[in-house]
């Protein structure tokens, strides 16, 4: 780089640029927060859904699955599992309950988590709530 462009100029670009774009990120965050009530399905965020999120977290579901595309890529996307299972929380509960304790020979299998009825209902309601978030039409189709 030429001699007319000095180190202190470079330093000022770093400080100025970083501060400016950090403030821009904060401004966009502020705007996002004000837009979220229209998008994030908070009207259906019941206590049961919140408990379901805890069940989701305490069993590390994101260690195999994706949820809205984020997580691990070992097992199916669950952001739209409610629709994929025919708009049925019972189908979701049935699937979780039916997992064999010792797995399936040679195949990937979800562990048997021995959830209580209350936990099952909560996590199913959580997945229903997640499926009704406005995700700009993602995923592209029902397969997730």
């Amino acid at each position: 780089m030429s001699e007319t462009f000095t180190k202190s100029m470079a330093r000022n670009i770093f400080y100025g640029g970083s501060v400016f774009f950090f403030l821009l990120l904060l401004a966009l965050t502020f705007d996002t927060e004000s837009a979220l009530p229209e998008l994030d399905n908070r009207q259906n965020l019941t206590e049961q859904v919140a408990a379901g999120k805890r069940v989701w977290e305490h069993n590390n579901c994101v260690g195999c699955h994706t949820l809205l595309g984020e997580g691990a890529y070992f097992a199916p996307e669950l952001g739209n599992v409610y629709q994929r299972f025919g708009n049925s929380t019972d189908a979701i509960k049935g699937f979780i309950m039916s997992r064999p304790k010792d797995g399936i020979p040679g195949r990937r299998s979800m562990p048997q988590f021995n959830l209580s009825d209350e936990e099952l209902e909560a996590v199913a309601q959580f997945l229903k709530y997640a499926s009704e978030i406005n995700t700009q039409n993602w995923p592209p189709n029902i397969q997730g």
Binding site: E57, A72, D102
Partner: protein
């Protein structure tokens, strides 16, 4: 080694390498579970192995960054470390806390671990990469603060350089953004939004400052190029990192319930994120070409050039591949993401830590400047084995990802997730093979610390 207290870096580096070996062993297990679904089931299910794999990576990189800082800061500041005792104490606290956490993952079901550590008091667990019990997270904060205090005090009493300042800003950013890991709202969209304030603002933000500073330090030392020139480059590179990377966070906000405008902000700014990485490549090669001396530690120079190239490929090119929102609509959360993640982490952060270890370890072991020729040759074998293996891991995962995107997302007759997984199985087998070569490369790397130990130090070529 100019300052006695720099020696506290050594246990940090040794721990880093030890945990790196553990990380790769679990990587090989995970790769096998992709093709033999019941491998180690139900003793070590995939989610547990993955948690160990990713958490070990984060912890050993943090060990590496801290070791690098403990070596670099006294030398840049031209003074002894403020408190070597505190640094050693924090080493043991971090190591024990890390080991207990990993054992917790492996020995009890995750739900039990959440219960034992009273996650309900302040729920932070069960989110990708932030799976650590809340108490561990508190421990990380304590270690980070003590560490920042220690190197901050060292800098205050000594010479201030751009390299040490940039490293410090990066490390402060690391600690500050980690605090978002304690924020876990019930609202899933907001949870996801602020989760990225840890994950994205680390790896596509402040960690780039850490990487740039370490790279600049090693280049100053090994090329003898004027500090003014190198520091000017450093500032330009990190300016570009944050100018593009801060708003680039938006490329994670396309499909998680956030407003549509993020598709514009995210696409445009993240498309520019490769620029600082490209500059890093130009920078490293330029400085080595303009070198005023031939440094006897050629292995360290190889790592420095390697990290610049591989970070550009992994973070820059493979990131760009799926960052534009119309592309990401189809690739989001597929093996494309996994491919990018592997090469980016290896190229940028694994290799920068190994660059620093390669440069510093000879001195920490009592050498004047470099290891013996034999030792360096072994290390360079490890470099090529690991790097080429990672290129193949990335290519195979990309192959799997392209097919997955097509069959599951793009065609008119999309197939289910598991059907597609069966169809792309061959790529997972190939990836596992490449993973085993990576493990071999890593074992060669470990061996390079013992091979040629008793031989005379290498001398610089004229």
């Amino acid at each position: 080694m100019t300052y006695q207290s720099q020696s506290v870096a050594k246990p940090y580096f040794i721990a880093a390498i030890g945990l790196f070996v553990g990380q790769i062993l679990f990587g090989v297990i995970l790769g096998l579970q992709y093709v033999m679904g019941d491998f180690l089931f139900p003793e070590i299910p995939f989610n547990v192995a993955r948690m160990v794999h990713t958490n070990l990576l984060i912890v050993w990189l943090l060990f590496g960054f801290m070791g690098a800082a403990y070596y670099l800061i006294p030398e840049e500041s031209e003074t002894e470390l403020f408190s070597p005792m505190l640094a050693l104490l924090m080493f043991w606290i971090f190591l024990v806390a890390g080991a207990l956490t990993i054992l917790g993952y492996l020995l009890v079901p995750y739900a039990t671990l959440a219960e034992l550590t009273m996650n309900d008091l302040l729920p932070t667990m069960g989110r990708e990469f932030l799976e650590q019990p809340t108490i561990t997270k508190v421990g990380i904060v304590i270690v980070a603060l003590s560490f920042l205090f220690n190197i901050g005090m060292t800098m205050l009493k000594g010479r201030k350089t751009a390299v040490s300042l940039v490293l410090f800003i990066g490390l402060v950013g690391l600690a500050v953004f980690f605090l978002f890991s304690f924020y876990n709202p019930e609202n899933l969209v907001r949870d996801k939004y602020y989760w990225w304030f840890v994950v994205h603002l680390w790896v596509e933000g402040v960690w780039e400052l850490i990487m740039g500073a370490i790279l600049a330090f090693v280049l100053i030392k090994t090329t003898g190029v004027d500090r003014e020139v190198i520091e000017k480059w450093l500032y330009v590179i990190i300016a570009m990192s944050l100018i593009t990377g801060l708003i680039g966070t938006g490329h994670h906000f396309y499909w998680i319930g956030t407003p549509e405008y993020w598709q514009w902000w995210g696409s445009i700014f993240s498309a520019m994120e490769p620029i600082p990485f490209f500059m890093m490549t130009i920078f490293a090669f330029n400085m080595v070409n303009r070198r005023r001396r031939n440094h006897p530690n050629q292995a360290a120079v190889l790592w420095a050039l390697g990290t610049a190239v591989m970070a550009f490929l992994g973070a820059g090119v493979w990131g760009f591949l799926h960052t534009l929102s119309p592309v990401n609509y189809y690739t989001h959360g597929t093996q494309i993401t996994a491919a990018h993640g592997h090469m980016a982490f290896y190229g940028a952060y694994v290799m920068i830590v190994l660059t620093m270890i390669s440069y510093a370890m000879p001195m920490l072991n009592g050498r004047k400047e470099a290891n013996s020729n034999k030792s360096q040759v072994t290390e360079m074998w490890a470099f090529w084995l690991m790097t080429i293996s990672m290129v193949f891991i990335t290519l195979f995962l990309t192959g799997a990802g392209v097919l997955q995107t097509w069959m599951q997302r793009y065609t008119d007759t999309p197939m289910s997730f598991m059907e597609v997984q069966d169809k792309v199985e061959i790529f997972y087998w190939l990836r596992e093979g490449a993973g085993i070569f990576f493990l071999i490369g890593l074992l060669v790397y470990v061996a390079s610390f013992f091979v040629g130990k008793d031989e005379a130090e290498a001398t610089a070529r004229e």
